[in-house]
Symmetry: C2
């Protein structure tokens, strides 16, 4: 029944040969790899404005210079990553680059940073996608968490089925988003140029102004908030292998185009938000800054407005979907390196790394529930992991150039070194300014998970050591059997177990019965004379009504008496015909088997007796 | 680790001899058995008032005549139950009485009605207890569901430990409640008599007045709502065995006293609620009618007011606790009669029927969460089950008198017949007038559960039949073994399994390996020549990466080839040292064992290899 349900949900299993790879042209690759990065313009400007509201609405104008600063940062990081693309034509994720160049611990820090940021990509993007819709249709707001969790469920399911990442699926929403954003920006700028700007109406409930003094700390925090615009920019360097030949060059060009588009969209939105005097919405059902802006420029009933909101939602869903490709792949690498349980390295029925997909879905759904699908509340957790991975990856590249000393290595090392220094600086700014808003949690989680991963590997190496055949004796048959048949009564289900026990040894066999009440014990003693076939019946007292303890004690005594032989506990199990009928019978067999598994030198043989109907 | 946690929570196991019984004097018995009935004055008057608000606040005055009608009903039911007490000196719960006199189906209807009402006793009483407190301390209201669930958790735990129902634990809160209620009523009536009544201030948000015409339907519905005052009145007839000798007489007197106290308190509160013109509170954080009344009479800052609220809370907690005694006992009876899974008939470590206790706790907690601990919303579900049990129990008594024809049988049959008719009439009134408010759910649940219980019994009888030894052959040893050793590689953990397999049969043995990737398969083939001890290695292809399917198919083929012998599948299992390390290894052994359990004529032998550290 369970397996039928699984078939219905994820489809028929796929054979190994069906694992195929697709090579993407630049235009499609841009759509596939840039949704994560481009979609961050849906929330980055708003994050800056909210951070500036710690002062007051007069400070909001600072958003424009801050976004220019972030653009400079973005271009630096993009240049730095072009180096990585050139050096790793088969894909150079942060984990790979830092493992190869920096060693285990930095690579694990990079890996864990990436894992947290993939999880947050899903949680943040899905929440922001839902907010794009609830901004247009306020009455949907009470269902936001439900909608976000449902979307995560659908994405998880689609990825368990092994969603074919066909280029067109990505191209339409991504290009629609790009076009609609540039449409918004061009019309807005035209209005600004012609002086026909009317300020966006202030939201009914304005975001809290805390009237703090506008210190450098506040400004840096607003900058740190805006750095969420850079999330997803590393995606292309991870996926170089998917580009058409010459893959590195094509990937580098695509990264350049993406960085240019992202910069223009982000600056454009921010400049317009200032020009239209958009104030962040502080209502219980907030409208996004982008929605306010689009409403101010096109009017809330215009079809253009709805196209923008819908395109925003779709690209955000695509952005989440990229994490569904990246997270399971990273956890596969980690599992192959023995840092994660090996279940993450197995392909499921549909050739996807199902366990990674499920893990990502569950954890991001939990985050969405905790934060009630408010993306702005999750952003402080997001940027930290992303910048940690940036820094480690760029540092790894510096190390690589210095070691290789290939032609042009000084220039290359300088570019990556500059990138690493800048991202490290931003990392520190984020850690400090966002510490109290949630970044502390990431700073705690990363080392804890890194230590856990290292312990997992230690355990696996340990086991491999113990399983080695170095000094093992060659297998020879067991010399002597001691057999215990557990009986819960004398009935038909016990007979095959007694037969099986007798076939192991005809003389060293006993039946064990736990005395739970006197009447039943008397009854079994009488029946045993007829059905016991001469096997000794041992009655174990159990004053505390435990079934486990008397058996364990008896076996302990037994193993003190004999050595060098094997005790087989034969368990008669009668198997009902339908699965639900199991609940009507004691599940003591399971408890007994679990206990015996941990008892040394005891083999458990389950002898089933199948009921007919 | 799990077992240590259990010890900490529920304490050390108790031996069978520690099961003891206590005989209670009348005064203590009143406290023990009446908390459920008496505590219903905490919500019954309010239920009537809320029902009358479907008309408007002018109709509230009808509460007084309605409560007089309910008092007459109460006295009738009490008389009827005194007959039951006399006839069943060892306890005559509705299930027992109707099983003995009416047959299986009516007794099951009675049992299921009682089970639903026990569950609701917990959910309603705990919620009402919490409301008594939040009425006094409004700021606690947002935590009401949490508090109610926590209280249910504590009660469940206390009952799992086997709470000793010492008389004094019950006596203090019960008598405190009785005294404080009578204090309230006497002071209130004195004010009424001296004309010094000032109307209670109307709540800030008055309960919705729906301005429906005051039809007989509305009045009957208000009556039906007030009938919740009768819940718990059957408790004494269930517990006659706990009284001192002469037990029936003592129990009957106690029932009389309880009925008198309950009538007086209920009428008193209702009369005063009308005299003080109390209007039900319709706020999101409502105050109870009793709290409004106590505030009007004593003032909200008076210590008397707080004593009343606290006493109300305590008696309501005690009332829930009685369900913790009744529900597991009833489910024990049903399990002994094979209508419920036998797990309900087992005493746990602490000699209580743990499964019944846990079930009650979980289901009532779910109800509390669904209804957000609003007792008034749950009341429509409550009275129906109670009156169904009343009616069946009284009808059973009528049948008994007619059958036995003992002296005075005509008078006795008349009393019970009158009780049965009246409660049947009220049952119909409740079913109709409360149908749309939730009674429909109970009307659906009762037949569904009754049918389920009958199917459970059918299954057990079926199994007993199939396990009977009537035509069974005497056990003799198995003639021929076929052994399959499943290997996932060649390592030390496999060697004991091979040894064990060789000891079963030296020639009819094969090792099975599932080919998941070519490289590993090549490696194992090479190693096998050295370590295989001449055992044939069978490589099973698995294009869909399934471990289960190739094994099943191989066994199917095998059993077509041979008959009359037993296939033993030997599973090497290596057992990590710590429980959490299990998560780091494939749990495929469990899946394989489960699959094989359902395969006929296959014995599974788990051969463990224990890792050291």
């Amino acid at each position: 029944m369970l397996s039928e349900m699984k078939r219905l949900l994820v489809g028929k299993p796929l054979a190994n040969e069906q694992l195929a790879h697709e090579r993407l042209p630049k235009r499609t690759a841009l759509a596939v790899f840039s949704s994560d990065a481009l979609s961050s313009v849906a929330y980055a400007t708003e994050a800056i404005l909210i951070a500036l509201m710690y002062a007051n609405r007069d400070a909001l104008g600072l958003a424009t210079p801050i976004s220019v600063g972030i653009m400079v940062l973005l271009i630096t990081v993009a240049f730095s990553y072009i180096q990585t693309i050139m050096a790793y034509p088969n894909g150079g994720g942060s984990y790979i680059v830092s493992r190869e160049n920096l060693g285990t611990i930095p690579s694990l820090v990079a890996a864990v940073s990436l894992m947290t940021s993939y999880i947050l990509t899903v949680a943040v993007s899905i929440s922001a996608g839902v907010t794009a819709i609830t901004s247009a249709l306020h009455w949907l707001d009470p269902y936001r968490t439900v909608m976000a969790v449902a979307l995560i469920g659908l994405l998880t399911l689609a990825n368990l089925r092994g969603l074919k990442e066909s280029g067109s699926m990505f191209a339409v929403p991504t290009y629609l988003f790009i076009v609609s954003m540039f449409g918004l920006i061009i019309v807005g700028l035209y209005n600004v140029a012609t002086g026909s700007v009317t300020a966006a109406p202030a939201p009914e409930i304005v975001h809290a102004e805390f009237n703090q003094t506008l210190t450098w700390f506040l400004i840096l925090r607003a900058f740190a908030s805006g750095c969420t615009a850079l999330t997803g920019i590393e995606a292309i360097s991870d996926g170089v292998a998917a580009f058409k030949q010459p893959q590195s060059r094509n990937a580098a060009i695509t990264l350049g185009v993406m960085a240019a588009l992202l910069s223009l969209m982000f600056i454009g939105i921010t400049v317009l938000a200032n020009a239209y005097q958009v104030i962040p919405d502080g209502a219980a059902e907030p409208e996004t800054v982008n929605s306010q802006l689009a409403r101010a420029i096109f009017g809330g009933n215009s079809p253009f407005y709805f196209v923008i909101q819908i395109a925003t939602m779709f690209i955000l869903i695509l952005a989440s979907n990229t994490a569904y490709a990246d997270f399971p792949r990273l956890s596969y690498f980690l599992a192959v390196d023995r840092f994660l349980p090996r279940q993450f390295a197995q392909r499921g029925d549909r050739l996807v790394f199902s366990n990674g997909v499920i893990f990502l879905g569950v954890v991001s759904a939990i985050l969405v529930i905790i934060f009630q699908a408010r993306e702005q509340a999750m952003l402080p957790l997001y940027a930290l992991g992303v910048f940690a991975a940036f820094t480690l990856s760029q540092t790894g590249m510096v190390r690589r150039w210095i070691t290789l000393r290939s032609p042009g290595w000084i220039r290359n090392a300088f570019i990556n070194g500059f990138g690493a220094s800048i991202t490290a600086l931003v990392l520190i700014v984020i850690a400090i300014t966002k510490f109290s808003q949630g970044a502390w949690a990431v700073l705690v989680i990363i080392p804890v998970v890194v230590i856990t991963l290292m312990n997992v590997r230690k355990h696996y190496l340990d086991v491999a050591d113990q399983l080695s055949l170095a000094e093992a004796p060659k297998p020879t048959a067991v010399r002597r059997h001691t057999v215990l048949v557990l009986v819960s009564g004398v009935h038909r289900g016990v007979i095959p177990a007694l037969q099986y026990g007798l076939s192991l040894t005809s003389d060293n066999i006993r039946a064990l019965y736990i005395d739970l009440d006197d009447a039943s014990t008397e009854r079994i003693k009488q029946k045993w004379t007829q059905w016991g076939s001469g096997i000794e019946l041992v009655i174990l007292p159990s004053p505390y009504r435990s079934l486990i303890r008397p058996i364990r004690e008896y076996i302990d005594q037994l193993s003190h008496r004999y050595h060098d032989d094997v005790v087989t506990v034969v368990l008669p199990e009668f198997i009902p015909n339908r699965w639900w009928q199991h609940f009507l019978h004691n599940q003591t067999a399971i408890a007994i088997k679990t206990m015996l598994l941990f008892t040394k030198n005891v083999v458990v043989a389950s002898v089933p007796y199948h009921l007919d109907h």
